[in-house]
Symmetry: none
Subunit: 289 residues, 2 copies
């Protein structure tokens, strides 16, 4: 029952965080569980009651108190005090930071400015998409993709990350898919497997990778349904795609974001997954309703 001399109790949130991290290896399972929860959901700790926090962290209230005592506090209440103090402090410092951000412009803090630039560009892209994306095209595209035996994904260079994410998401949703990669030089074979019963999702932005355009054209000519994500009605893809989305990504420092393309891709993937599930369950897909 004698206390281990825990010595210094954390006086502010940063110290507390450091203290948790330093002993994380040696914490018992449930204590570690609530420690992780606490660092991930500090607001909950600040506002909740011992019981409510315990429930949402999946432990007993008593564990919460043991956690507090492990850290040198004498109970949950004083631990909570640190989380509350942080919230008040952060609130004031947040306002300050916004002000200094507006005032102090060009010279210093260049890196943070770059990040802000990308964050702003991403937000802008998302806003544009939520205003302009055509709902009907979305429904039809998902319908086409949901009927496909295999979904081929075609995207290179700047769009390649989107393709790889799509492949990942579709894989997790157990939708058969195949990326067309150029590395191994096997594209021609891969493409020759595609039939009109499949579908291709092609993503390309100006300047369009020539290989992508060529592959897409070939597939379209062979009657494979083609869904495109591209940036303009003048895109070559727009001319031979069955359906196409126009996505305007904002840019910063010469780099366009992928925020809205990613969001659209995820929506397509999940939409296809849903349609497939509905189709299996009910004998036919929900469609537009």
């Amino acid at each position: 029952m004698s206390e281990t001399a825990v010595a210094e109790l954390p006086r502010d949130f940063d110290e507390l965080r450091a203290s948790i991290l330093s002993q994380r290896e040696s914490l018992p399972k449930r204590i570690a569980q609530i420690a992780a929860y606490a660092l991930d959901n500090p607001d909950e700790i600040a506002f909740g009651t011992a019981a409510s926090i315990a429930i949402s962290a999946g432990v007993q209230p008593s564990t919460l108190i043991r956690f507090a005592q492990h850290l040198g506090f004498d109970g949950f209440t004083s631990l909570q005090g640190v989380f509350r103090a942080r919230l008040r402090e952060r609130n004031s410092s947040y306002e300050e930071r916004l002000n200094t951000l507006r005032v102090g412009d060009g010279t210093a803090a260049g890196n943070h400015r770059i990040l802000d630039g990308f964050l702003t560009a991403s937000r802008k892209s998302l806003d544009v998409m939520s205003r302009t994306l055509d709902e009907d095209t979305l429904d039809r595209a998902i319908d086409v993709l949901a009927r496909a035996e295999t979904i081929y994904i075609l995207a290179r260079r700047r769009s390649y990350p989107v393709a790889s994410y799509l492949a990942y998401a579709l894989g997790k949703l157990e939708v058969r898919n195949q990326m067309i990669e150029s590395a191994a030089g096997l594209d021609p074979e891969m493409i020759s497997f595609a039939t009109p019963k499949d579908a291709v999702l092609v993503i390309s932005f100006s300047p369009y990778a020539p290989a992508t355009i060529e592959d897409a054209r070939g597939l379209a000519e062979r009657g494979v349904p083609l869904i495109a994500i591209t940036d303009s009605a003048f895109s070559p893809l727009a001319s031979f795609a069955k359906l196409w989305f126009e996505v305007a990504e904002a840019d910063f420092g010469g780099f366009r974001t992928l925020a809205s393309t990613m969001a659209l891709s995820m929506a397509l993937a999940v939409g296809v997954g849903e349609a497939r599930r509905a189709g299996r369950g009910k004998g036919r897909r929900g469609g537009q309703a």
Copy 2:
């Protein structure tokens, strides 16, 4: 004893404030006193107990309750709820929205709803990052990466798209970099090339790909500076990284977005590009300025 039909109770802090101001003339003295105190010290109301607030406002606890009832609440506790909501408000509007957008339930208009969900989740992620990302860590990470001879990029599965985008961006900026891919099984060789003069940028989120963790550990042990992007202080990466970013991506329908991770990655890439250019131009890099 008959109730004045106060009708609408303020649902958020702004309404409450307006309500107080509009009837301030007609309030009894002590009620007015606590009303003024509440508007001047909202944080006290949010965190304090009825007794403690009463003391520091110079009134009786019962007065505090009468004040709450005057405004249409049924007690101090629900009044306090509004003051607390105000402090967490920053995220809650998104939470609410995401909850109403749940995947799969709505038979109709499901697809547009899915897209909305991902757009909202992306926006939320971006907002959280602009509030929480530590500026100092960003500066130091860019500094480390800018000094590296080669930047190794390590990310698998869900994070792989980020890695491929980073490789693309760094390549365009003419920063030497190397992705560590697992496909060809050449990872061990690749990793063995890295020296303390290089740097590794590793990206992994829970559930952490075991191969990523192993590789990262090996590199760290060999003295290669390691910059990590991960999702929690409890990530294994946080323990052996020289510097690490905590990124909380919102999720929708079981898929987390990559919006803020992408934005951060782009900022790192461009930041490194800038630092390199400055370094070449002036004989040494800009540093903090």
